[in-house]
Amino acid sequence: MSINVCSNRSMASITSLPSGVSAGSLVLLETQTASSSSTISFTSNIDSTYKEYVFKFIDIHPSADNINFTFNMSADSGSNYNVTKTTTFFEAYHKEDGSEVDFAIADSRDLAQSTAFQQLNGAGVQNENDGSISGYLKIFEPSSTTFIKHFISSSMSNAHNGHYAWNSFMAGYGNTTSAVDAVQFKMSSGNIDAGTIKMYGVV
């Protein structure tokens, strides 16, 4: 084993710390990097260990143009992503040339007792080289067998052929008292060409 050395008063290549030493309350559990991926699924580490799980999606780039970035939850370890959901969706947007702005509910993007995937962006994400969506999804106490499963999300994307800055706010609940133990992300059509999704547990 090589000896790791101090580098500018930080330590390199440390893989674990002694028990009892907290690395903080936002614990990175898994990172997945998309590469022409049809889906990105998190099927482990979602349990009663944490009361809240945070997914950060960073520069998610679709293979097809003007496509939605979506998520769903599973109550059977990822065999089926079909949890019933009721959600709200509202958005603010601004066109690059300054000609359009709006702040409104987006009823066409929400769900009412639906098992379908929920979109996280407003208008479709563009697939030009610099087009992407970034944001977060927070799911509260997915392991509960008493309560429904609240979630909140916010994202920013460049949409409609890249001419708009689109700030989206989605929230709602999985209307199930079964434990949610897996989460999947995918585009509404085509692949996730690139991007990073990180899952954290909140101590």
Binding site: P18, T88, F89, D110, A112, Q113, S144, T146, F147, T177
Partner: protein
């Protein structure tokens, strides 16, 4: 100083680390038939002072003993009363399980203008066994004796009539006294269940 050595690629004898603990858990309180849930600086291991510039409260699956109760919050700015003067904004998005009523609205009846009463953060939380609300509250620089105290709150709720609400509250305690305690309560009845977590966020 003794030399810290490697132990099978882990390091031993480290008792604290700095930068990695940007979000630091301070206190968890589990409600069980409580009229209020309070976080008071210096009490029961709670820190709510100049140690952190930002505090984050998470409230998870908060369930009322009585049906259709607002979850509220208030702040203490000295003394024993939760009555800090507040000016706030309040808007919410809603959508029924039956697909009806999708809307986003500013709700003037739910904001405060130099009010000292409680601030609603979740509307008419349902009392069915599986109904609750969950969300988060950021409080900025509560120990300042120079500035007002900003806060930002977002909550998702199952209302008693099976409508989901995404509630956004923001505002400030219009006081220059330090805020040293936060309290949650329902409009009527007890907090039957729920988990409340307090965190500190470091700025360096």
């Amino acid at each position: 100083m003794s030399i810290v050595t490697y132990n099978n690629r882990s390091i031993a004898n480290i008792s604290a680390i700095g930068a990695a603990k940007a979000l630091t858990h301070i206190k968890t309180v589990t409600a069980s038939g409580d009229s209020t849930i309070s976080f008071v600086d210096g009490s029961s291991d709670v820190v709510l002072d100049s140690t952190y510039p930002i505090y984050l409260l998470k409230y998870i699956n908060v369930h009322p003993a009585s049906d259709s109760q607002h979850l509220n919050v208030n702040f203490r700015d000295g003394g024993s009363s939760y009555d800090a003067t507040k000016t706030t904004s309040y808007f919410e998005a809603e959508h029924g399980e039956d697909g009806s009523g999708a809307a986003v609205n500013y709700v003037t009846a739910s904001d405060l203008a130099q009010g000292t009463g409680v601030q609603k953060i979740a509307p008419n939380v349902g009392g069915d066994a599986d109904q609750s609300c969950s969300g988060e509250l950021f409080l900025f620089n509560p120990s300042s004796t120079t500035f007002v105290k900003h806060f930002i709150i977002r909550t998702n709720t199952v209302r008693s009539d099976n409508i989901t609400f995404d509630t956004h509250v923001a505002g400030y305690c219009n006081v220059t006294a330090a805020i040293d305690a936060i309290q949650f309560s329902f409009g009527s009845g007890n907090i039957d269940a729920g988990t409340f977590k307090l965190y500190g966020l470091k700025d360096s």
